[in-house]
Amino acid sequence: MDEVVATAKYETPQVQTKEAPTFLQIVKKTARHILLILFSVITAFPFLWMLVSAIKTTDEIWKFPPSFWPAEPQWQNFIEAWNSAPFGLYMFNSLFTATAIVLFQIFSAAMMAYALTQFRFKGQKFLFASILAIYMLPAASTYVPSYVILSKLNMLDSYQGMIISNAVSVFGIFFIRQAFMQVPKEMVEAAKVDGASHWTILWKVLLPMTKSSFLTFSLISFVQMFNNYLWPSLILKSQDKYLITMGLRQFFIEGGAYGIKWPLVMAANVFAVVPLLLLFFVAQKWFIKGINDRGVKG
């Protein structure tokens, strides 16, 4: 069969690509799969290792050479880890602040994007250029004064402080502005003729037409806020305000450094990592859209 195909190909090279694959093509394809499988394994390995380490006993985790699968999976490690520190509270703090922040960011970004795309006014270019300028700059360079400002507002160590100091997203303004510029002018004009106010046009015309951009932005920003560590660790000081990232590090220092509770430390990591991985696998295409539409920083 292969021979026949090969001969046919030799005679009509112009249809080469439409024929059944040659031996060389199969080899190449296999090589590509091997490369991709290799990288997938390397990428996924730390996650797998986290999972299997979480269900080992302390004795087993310290064995050398290490075993891959535990002799007897210690599923109760998850319960024990969950009860060794207020992880429920940490999770709540992260989910609550991240959700509130995303809502505020959507509001402030959509309003600003509306002003930037639907009006012409003096200083508009300057304003946009200024926002553009801070887009790339390291947020950390604002931390000392922002810390002082928050303390003056009496908002250190509070949800309010965490939320308000993150309530504007420069990336969000760009992303939503970009989306609004894609909406045909006629749609907005038609709504105006119907007597719609700017407020109505923004939320009832533009928002529904750019839903996917809003969704993408929400997902990416949510993940970034959930994973946020440096700034929250500066402003949230009491343990009952800790975000999950801060709680994990705290647990790691207490339990991991002396090697006593490594399986529990790994189990605790599972709480933070697995929900995000699931969210990503469900909503993959929206994340990827965010990168393809430009601008999401690594």
């Binding site: 990428t43 996650f47 509306y114 700059l137 922002s146 309530a167 560590y229 990232t245 991991g256």
Partner: protein, 292 residues
């Protein structure tokens, strides 16, 4: 007419107000204040401070430790950015052809990007564990000596780099894939498809076509590398012996461990200047370079 103009002004202002206030309070004003603090000797605790001119900068620039930090930052940036870009591009090229399971591969390789750096760094610190860690097990199983990854000033930096590259490859890959898909197909068809021609096609067609993307990614991932903190904090806290102390980590230590706000903000000003320079280069280049 006047009232309608006034009304228009009011409407625009109201729409801009939420973002504008927040931008002013948490971005613009802090940036300026930070610059101002860098000319003072403020220690956060005392209510007074005095202006010291450029002293914070000159003491930084004459401090040997600062140059060590600068070199660390450079090493971290270069050895994070180059492998991330090269591997990301290689994977994108592999995935750019029709291949079964490409969505699955893409998802797996991208997935670390969504996970918290703090959590995955903790996992990696277990992988790096010197006596029983899986990485040293792999090394010893091929006859290599065990390495005290996070405890040696030689290997701590490569370890931090490894984690950073692992987390960033997927992002670069997705970005490159999109760029490759925008390379016009007819440019390919005009080229012959034998082995040697394939390399030439890559070298003279694909590579130049995606060069604006390469440049964009180069700048963005460098800026990102300059801001790395979480993995350093979890894995090494800047150690051992300052071997993983980068500019941003030094800033954190000066400001929030030593409360030397003047010197800390001087470091942050330098960081801003470096980042601004890189952004300006990117902005300037993107105006002169067509993106495909």
């Amino acid at each position: 007419m006047v009232t309608s103009k006034y009304k228009q002004f009011l409407t625009i202002s109201l729409f801009m107000l939420p973002a504008l206030i927040l931008l002013l309070v948490f971005w613009f004003i802090p940036m300026i204040v930070s610059l101002f603090i860098s000319f003072t000797d403020w220690d956060y605790i005392s209510p007074t401070f005095s202006l010291v001119g450029l002293e914070n900068y000159s003491s930084l620039l004459t401090d040997k430790e600062f140059y060590k930090v600068l070199v660390n930052t450079l090493v971290f940036a270069v050895f994070t950015v180059l492998p991330t870009m090269a591997i990301g591009l290689a994977l994108a090229l592999t995935l750019n052809k029709k291949i079964a399971g490409s969505t699955f591969y893409k998802a797996i390789i991208f997935s670390p990007w969504v996970t918290p750096m703090v959590a995955v760094s903790i996992v990696w610190s277990w992988i790096f564990q010197p006596e029983v860690g899986i990485l040293n097990f792999l090394l010893s199983s091929v006859g290599l000596p065990k390495i005290d990854w996070l405890g040696s000033s030689t290997w701590a930096m490569p370890a931090v780099i490894m984690v950073t590259v692992w987390k960033g490859i997927g992002w670069v890959m997705i970005f490159y894939l999109e760029a490759l898909q925008r390379v016009p197909a007819d440019l390919y068809e005009s080229a012959a498809i034998d082995g040697a021609a394939k390399w030439r096609r890559f070298r003279y067609v694909t590579l130049p076509m995606i060069s604006p993307t390469t440049f964009f990614l180069l700048i963005i991932t460098t800026i990102d590398a300059l801001q790395a903190y979480d993995q350093i904090q979890v894995l090494t806290q800047g150690g051992p012996a300052g071997s993983t102390r980068t500019l941003l980590y030094m800033y954190y230590q000066l400001a929030f461990e030593q409360f030397n706000m003047g010197q800390a903000t001087a470091v942050s000003t330098l960081l801003v200047l470096i980042t601004a320079l890189l952004s300006v280069i990117q902005f300037w280049a993107s105006k002169r370079w067509v993106h495909y």
